[in-house]
């Protein structure tokens, strides 16, 4: 029998990721909407709360609630091309490890979130923070939380995209799963955004919780993704 020809996972990963990033750069279907949503929400919070300065838990809550709901816009669109243009079939026909699709999609979402935050977190600081001192250490929290959102979002999006009610189903399933991540992200951010400058009370503990969450959902995605692609 002819030996099965498996494409190296690194090549397949780079191919799918490059395709997604090229499509997004060309069509700008996700990122501008995510950024616009986040900035608009900051404006609403600013006038709704009637505050020009936020700190502590309130600042962390505003930041993470906004980022999470902006991320949902990207999550909802993550597999739309695969569903509507036959990408799922094309990828299932290829001699590749199907977990590569999970890794590539999660990385694409991670990239969208990183770009989103590069734009909107400075705007958040401009709107609500007295200084930018917290932004440096906040990067670690953002990275770990983004990884968790990317892993969980990719997993849920791949399931929800097959439903006609995907725009509803995705958030309904994703939000409860992401609650622990939000608790840890706001817990880690709260001392950083405290009035009078960043503090580090239980900062390491919350980062450890975020890391554990990331690890669980990355492993879960890797383990079950192959089954999710079956008919």
């Amino acid at each position: 029998m002819t030996a099965p020809r498996l494409t190296p996972s690194r090549q397949a990963f780079a191919t799918i990721l490059a395709k997604d990033l090229r499509s997004e750069l060309r069509t700008l279907q996700s990122l501008p909407a995510m950024a616009l949503f986040a900035v608009t929400t900051f404006v609403i919070f600013r006038f709704g709360l009637d505050r020009t300065q936020l700190s502590g838990s309130l600042a962390a809550g505003v930041l993470w609630a906004t980022l999470l709901f902006a991320a949902l816009l990207g999550v909802n669109r993550l597999f739309v091309a695969e569903r509507e243009e036959g990408g799922f079939d094309a990828i299932r026909l290829a001699p590749i490890d199907r977990s590569v699709l999970f890794a590539a999609k999660a990385t694409a979402l991670l990239a969208y979130l990183a770009v989103l935050e590069l734009v909107v977190v400075p705007i958040f600081a401009l709107f609500f923070l007295g200084s930018a001192a917290a932004l440096g250490p906040l990067v670690a929290v953002l990275l770990l939380a983004d990884l968790g959102i990317a892993a969980t979002g990719t997993l849920i999006s791949s399931m929800a995209v097959h439903s006609r009610a995907r725009d509803l189903l995705g958030p309904l399933v994703l939000l409860p799963l992401i609650v622990p991540l939000m608790i840890a992200a706001t817990g880690a951010s709260e001392p950083l955004l405290a009035a009078g400058g960043p503090g580090y009370h239980r900062f390491g503990t919350w980062l450890a919780v975020l890391s554990l969450y990331d690890l669980i959902f990355l492993l879960l995605g890797y383990a079950v993704f192959d089954f999710l692609l079956e008919d």
């Binding site: 020809r5 191919t15 036959g86 008919d231």
Partner: protein, 222 residues
Amino acid sequence: MTAAQATGEPALRLAGLRRDYGDRTVLDGIGLELGHGETLLVLGPNGAGKTTLLRILATLLRPSGGEVWAFGCALPDEAWKLRGRVGLLGHEPLLYRDLSGRENLRFHAHLHGLRGEAAEQRIAGLLAAVGMERRAEQRVAELSAGMRQRLAICRCVLHEPELLLLDEPDSNLDAEGRELARALIGPGEGRTRVVVSHDPERFEAEAQRVLRLEAGGKAVAA
């Protein structure tokens, strides 16, 4: 020659194949054998299970019962061994609308392990073979249905599959397109093919075996 050919195993062997969607049986008790390099023509009315049969052979659907062997691989358990050796031309072109024809073919080439100059040469050759060189940089969304079908044919044979699964391969093609496509997906050159069509006259002369399905997925004659 593959080991399956050397041992005299048929390219395809189906025995008692059944596929259900919930309570509805779409294929029921299909059995046949197809030799290497032969063409099987699958005929039948809408809803008879023709496309379902192709998707099972492409490893995209699991059979609900029976046995399916393709090129010595038992499906679905050994589907991973068969992927990459199958070319599927279905109702959908499996092309991304926001990428150009060449970018789409490059994407599929890379997924199938082709890279670099070898991939570029293969793509250029196929685009020329279907008369699409001048349209290769256009986005798929801007192409006509016939042009998309030509690209889909390129995608289908890009990795030189041993088994071609063709669902209405002439759809949307004009006379010139049909003639060009014939060189890539027509009979000959040892291609094993399963062709689904509503037009028996078009393909019957090319087929060594004919499978007629009736509504409910039963084989009338094989």
